[in-house]
């Protein structure tokens, strides 16, 4: 008996020792808690932010988006020129190395772009179909020929999914091994990936801007529960956590050990309207819906004042956002008379909601009350999130709140999805306006920034007049960090600039 107790005591002591050892965190390693673990390190095989945000720390791209999220800046491409017809681009590739020390050349860049266009496993083929040829004319020169002029082309090169991968590395490792531990050229390299738990990144000494990186490493740790994630930072066991719920901001701000970081994002929440369903096809009815919704009340109640009222589908702070776009006031009486004038007496709508999504459910109850004041009945239908999206795509709804965050700086991607009569029925709204459709196509080809901006201003006005959907609010990224962490920053497209982050 005594022997057993002795060994238990020894085990406890041992446990205590290792415990205190693990508490003394490595200096210069930033630990960040997030909701989910990554799914892959092969950039072409994912369309999830959770993956892309880590790609930005591990890979480099030809052209980067700056901190403000509105300008392009040189990445692996030192400089570039475009021909007058907008069909040929020549990029000068800088002297850079991959994490294994091998030189990065124009043929790696060409390989990466052709791979995202052609590989059967690529989720992004359609976005890069505009590329006709990509050729390394010499190790430092990449020449790309397009099938047709494309104003958004350069900004698609900044997408983390178009990151430059090592041709030799990919061929040596094979896609499966590469997706676990890639050969890349970013600020950090993947040291270890403990699936479901954490990704351990180490400073990449071969990064062409290695002098800029202050951290020795970064750990992205998955802590799915919002409460636990916040408690980890409060207890000092994590340096930072992302995805802070709106409801927690006020409380965390009171903690003197913490900094709550509120960075502008491109997230826009909007109310989808199915134009194919009965009276919702009438413009006046949709305008009445817009008038019947008190966006200010939603911003106050749902985002705890963290959001701002949206007046356009192009978010505030994003390229070509039209600040003076129409903002219909909250006026339930006017909504009623508009409905009456349109000959609609009793409007009953099927409102689709993602069950278990706190924000969506809360918005639903609020909107239901607001619409009732204008004589509109909304029946809330709560379904599983995955099913909700399926039903939306199938057009099996009248109204539903959804959101969009921009992947690229250029407004073309979102505009095409929302107004361009693309294959997705204008984001499942079945909205149709041929004049808008034509302008979306023209804006994509227009290479003069001044003229192009005017086109997007017009598009924002036309969309607002037609009420393609109802713009509700813009909301920021909300993160939290310990006071000793500096320059922990996310740009509006979601990129963390961890190469500038300091842990004191």
């Amino acid at each position: 008996m005594t022997k057993t107790w002795k060994s238990i005591g020894l085990a406890a002591l041992l446990a205590g020792l290792t415990l205190s050892a693990s508490y003394a965190e490595a200096a210069g390693v930033l630990t960040i808690g997030r909701r989910e673990d990554s799914t892959t390190f092969d950039p072409i095989k994912t369309a999830q932010n959770i993956d892309n945000w880590v790609f930005s720390n591990v890979y480099d791209v030809l052209i980067r988006v700056d901190k403000t999220g509105t300008k392009l800046e040189p990445g692996l491409a030192e400089s570039w020129t475009a021909s007058d017809d907008g069909l040929t681009y020549v990029f000068k590739i800088r002297d850079a190395k991959f994490s294994d020390g091998s030189p990065l050349t124009a043929s790696d860049a060409a390989f990466s772009l052709l791979r995202i266009r052609d590989d059967a496993a690529s989720l992004w083929s359609d976005s890069y179909k505009v590329i006709d040829t990509a050729v390394a004319t010499d190790p430092h020169t990449l020449t790309i020929k397009l099938k047709n002029p494309s104003a958004p082309f350069l900004s698609t090169l900044a997408l983390p999914n178009a990151s430059v991968i090592s041709k030799a590395g990919m061929e040596a490792l094979g896609p499966d091994a590469y997706a676990e531990k890639p050969v890349a050229s970013g600020a950090f390299t993947v040291e270890e990936w403990r699936r479901g738990d954490r990704i351990i990144l180490k400073k990449n000494p071969n990064f062409w801007q290695a002098d800029r990186v202050k951290l020795d490493g970064v750990e992205w740790i998955s802590v799915p529960d919002d409460n636990t994630r916040m408690l980890n930072v409060q207890a000092g066991q994590l340096d930072a956590a992302i995805f802070v719920p709106f409801s927690r901001v006020a409380e965390l701000k009171k903690d003197t050990n913490l900094t709550v970081l509120i960075d502008p994002s491109t997230r826009e929440d909007h109310l989808l309207i199915n134009h194919a369903h009965g009276d919702l096809g009438k413009k006046e009815v949709r305008q009445a819906l817009d008038l019947a919704i008190d966006k200010k009340a939603i911003v106050e109640a749902v985002t705890f004042g963290q959001g701002t009222i949206a007046n356009s589908y192009i978010p505030k702070g994003a390229l070509y956002h039209y600040a003076d776009n129409l903002q219909r006031p909250y006026d339930p009486e006017k909504a009623k008379s508009l409905l009456a004038a349109a000959g609609v007496s009793k409007l009953t709508l099927n409102y689709l909601i993602r069950a278990g999504d706190e924000v969506d459910e809360q918005t639903g109850v609020l909107l239901q009350q607001q619409l009732a004041k204008a004589g509109i009945t909304a029946n809330l239908q709560k379904v599983d999130p995955s099913q909700e999206w399926d039903m939306t795509v199938a057009g099996d709804y009248d109204i539903s709140v959804n959101y969009w965050t921009n992947d690229i700086l250029d407004p073309d991607q979102k505009t095409t999805f929302v107004l361009g009569h693309d294959s997705n029925n204008n984001y499942s709204t079945n909205y149709k306006n041929e004049a808008v459709k034509d302008l979306v196509g023209k804006a994509r080809l227009e290479l003069d920034p001044k003229k192009r901006e005017q086109m997007y201003v017009d598009l924002q006005k036309m969309a607002k007049d037609d009420v393609n959907w109802i713009d509700l609010y813009y909301s920021p990224y909300i993160n939290v960090a310990r006071k000793n962490v500096e320059n922990f920053y996310q740009n509006p497209l979601g990129r963390f600039f961890l190469e500038d982050t300091v842990k004191n």
Binding site: A11, L14, A15, G16, L17, T18, L19, S22, E36, D37, T39, T40, D42, K45, T46, A47, Q48, A120, A121, L123, S125, D126, D176, A179, E180, R194, R195, G196, D197, R198, I221, S222, V223, P224, D225, N227, T228, R229, L231, N232, Q234, A235, Q237, V383, D384, P385, S386, Q387, W389, D390, M391, V393, N402, W404, D407, F417, D422, S423, N424, Y427
Partner: protein
């Protein structure tokens, strides 16, 4: 030795059970509305990309053919490829077994450590204040939702006192043990209430049994009667109760793993269900089914070993 003959024959019965489970989970997961391909692609899905994914993972095939491929893979010791993670399901699951297994084991041990003295106190004081006290505590324990209890334990031990880690799993043995204390305590606090009730009534029965009376008649002190004769005799129904509860216990770890960010099977399953990652859901369900069957089998063996009267 013929009492142990079932050890050889019973496994034959497992095959149809596991086959049935595989059919049911295969069909069930496909009956839930929601499209895996659309899930992966999100809002940017284009028809060509959707068709591409469906073809790659065989989702465009008839369901019976998909099931045939599933069985064929299983026969080769594979479980197919995850749509979400783009890797084989087997390595994905194998790294997740340890945290769940250790959590379940630690929870069972801890709940026995809690339940044994509690039920002993109650059984030796039937109808008196300590018995009532144990019953009240037990009822309270059943009523506490694990996610809330877990958070309260974190706030007390990790944030206020700062003696235990908030969440995660750790890499070294000691580190892992430290990380398991709070989650297993969370599970044990609810599991022990169920065990306490069963143990208490079994002990009350055993205290009245002829064995106990005979021992007392021989002048054996009550304490020795209790620990030597009563406790062993009341263990059999509890072992079976534990075995029956193993399914419930594994289900319970899903919540606890989420709260404590343990990288186990439960968390894997939750995310797989939400993203309709069919292959992973099937793989985890099959693993859980095998575990449940195995635990019940072991429980039978233990029961036979503990009680010479039992024949199976």
């Amino acid at each position: 030795m013929h009492r142990y003959k079932f050890v050889l024959t019973r496994p034959v019965q497992f095959l149809p059970v596991l086959f049935g489970i595989s059919v049911i989970t295969f069909i069930l997961v496909r009956l839930i509305p929601g499209d895996p391909a659309r899930n992966i692609l999100g809002t940017r899905a284009t028809p060509t990309a959707l068709a591409n994914i469906r073809a790659q993972y065989g989702l465009d095939q008839p369901i019976w053919l998909q099931y045939f491929y599933f069985l064929k893979n299983l026969a080769n010791g594979e479980m197919g490829k995850s749509i979400l993670y783009k890797i084989d399901v087997l390595p994905l699951i194998s790294t997740r077994i340890e945290p769940t297994l250790t959590l379940v084991l630690a929870s069972v041990v801890l709940s026995i450590v809690i339940a044994l003295p509690m039920s002993a106190i109650a059984a030796r004081n039937v109808g008196r204040a300590p018995d009532h006290a144990v019953r009240i505590v037990s009822t309270f324990g059943i009523g506490l939702p694990p996610f809330w209890l877990g958070l309260m334990l974190i706030i007390l031990f990790s944030v206020q006192l700062g003696v235990l880690p908030v969440s995660g799993y750790g890499s070294s043995l000691g580190d892992k043990l430290a990380h398991l204390v709070l989650p297993s305590l969370t599970v044990a606090l609810s599991l022990s209430t169920v065990l306490t009730r069963s143990l208490r009534s079994a002990m009350v029965e055993a205290l009245k049994s002829d064995v106990a009376t005979a021992a007392r008649a021989r002048g054996m002190p009550e304490g020795i009667v209790f620990w030597r004769h009563v406790v062993p005799n009341s263990l059999v129904p509890t072992i079976n109760l534990l075995a029956v509860n193993i399914g419930w216990l594994i289900g319970g770890t899903v919540v606890v793993e989420s709260v404590f960010a343990l990288p186990g099977m439960g968390q894997l399953l939750v995310r797989a269900i939400f993203s309709r990652d069919y292959m992973v859901v099937q793989g985890v369900a099959m693993t859980f089914a095998c575990a449940t069957v195995l635990v019940n089998f072991i429980a039978d063996i233990v029961t036979v070993a503990v009680d010479p009267r039992v024949k199976l």
